[in-house]
Symmetry: C2
Subunit: 202 residues, 2 copies
């Protein structure tokens, strides 16, 4: 078998800890959550929490790490003969569609997930951990792009980082836009601009 009970349980614990961390932080505020509480919520000891994550911030960011890594996965899943940017668009779109299937059910914009995103964007103490998460995702993405295009050097990394940046900007704009705008629309617009070389719009 690929991974026995052992590996699966470890993954479950990791996810349980991360969700517990996000939930508690959203409820009480980041600063009012002790890792002891998170561990208790997930049913493990404080010391075990520490075996999984180096810090409280990492635990909260873990969920976003997993989600972000999917972009590279999605990209690899696209047909190999599809043009790069077409595949990229599809991969990011799928990434953004994620959030419904968070922990089982599929109630639309998943309030829990959204609150978590807002938390991560607003709490300064979390930005570092989140940034590291995105850096990790960028590495994977760059590798996927290198494989797909057969390029090396700066190109794969440039594309990966630009995609990561785009994703961040789109997310921020989506959260901010007061007459709400659809993510798909924002994303499409942003990628159009990227592909056009970012000329100053008139």
């Amino acid at each position: 078998m690929a991974d026995g009970l052992r590996e699966r349980k470890k993954q479950e614990t990791r996810i349980a800890l991360s969700w517990a961390a996000v939930r508690l932080a959203v409820e009480r505020g980041y600063g009012n959550v002790r890792i002891e509480d998170i561990a208790a919520e997930a049913g493990v000891s404080l010391r075990t929490f520490r075996n999984y994550f180096d810090s409280k911030a990492d635990a909260i960011a873990a969920r976003e790490v997993d989600r972000s890594l999917r972009i590279a996965e999605e990209l690899r899943a696209r047909p190999a003969d599809e043009p790069l940017w077409v595949a990229v668009r599809a991969a990011i779109e799928k990434h953004f569609a994620l959030g419904e299937e968070g922990h089982g059910g599929q109630r639309p914009p998943d309030e829990q997930w959204l609150a978590g995103i807002r938390l991560m964007m607003s709490e300064p103490a979390l930005q570092g951990a989140v940034a590291r998460a995105y850096a990790r995702a960028g590495d994977e993405l760059a590798a996927a792009i290198a494989d797909r295009t057969g390029t090396s050097g700066m190109y794969p990394r440039l594309v990966a980082e630009v995609i990561a940046a785009t994703r961040g900007v789109v997310t921020a704009e989506w959260l901010r836009a007061d007459p709400p705008r659809s993510i798909a629309e924002l994303l499409s617009s942003a990628l159009d601009q990227i592909e056009a070389g970012l000329p100053v719009p008139e």
Copy 2:
């Protein structure tokens, strides 16, 4: 007056702490430096260190924060009628030329500065703080671009984040390239690709 002795001294202390933090971390390794040591090195109390920075990592990243903020400054300093991307190229080039004038003298590639950069790129515990630094710089840059181009919405932020990403990729490539390559050349190449919309190279 704009800033009295008070303000200037505060700035000096901040810089002294940051340099001390970098120097000690480079010498002994990040984990073997206590903030107490940094404070002592800079001639202030431990408690005062904490008034300046929230963490050891922040102190180390502070120098990079200041340096990164200069990109936006340089951009604002360019002639207003210069095309955006021309101005951007010039601003980043100047940013990269920085490092000689670190703390007074101007011995070429400033070993101290380079070692600091390597440290920041390699030590995981620092990546969060550094990422936050770049995020700050991105905000300033986006504002500068918005002012210069008279645009709003996602465009200024997209450009700012793409520039930040480019700078990061170029720096990484420059540090890694074994037959060393000039920063100017790498930067120029990267920006050419960005302006062309990142088509897959042949």
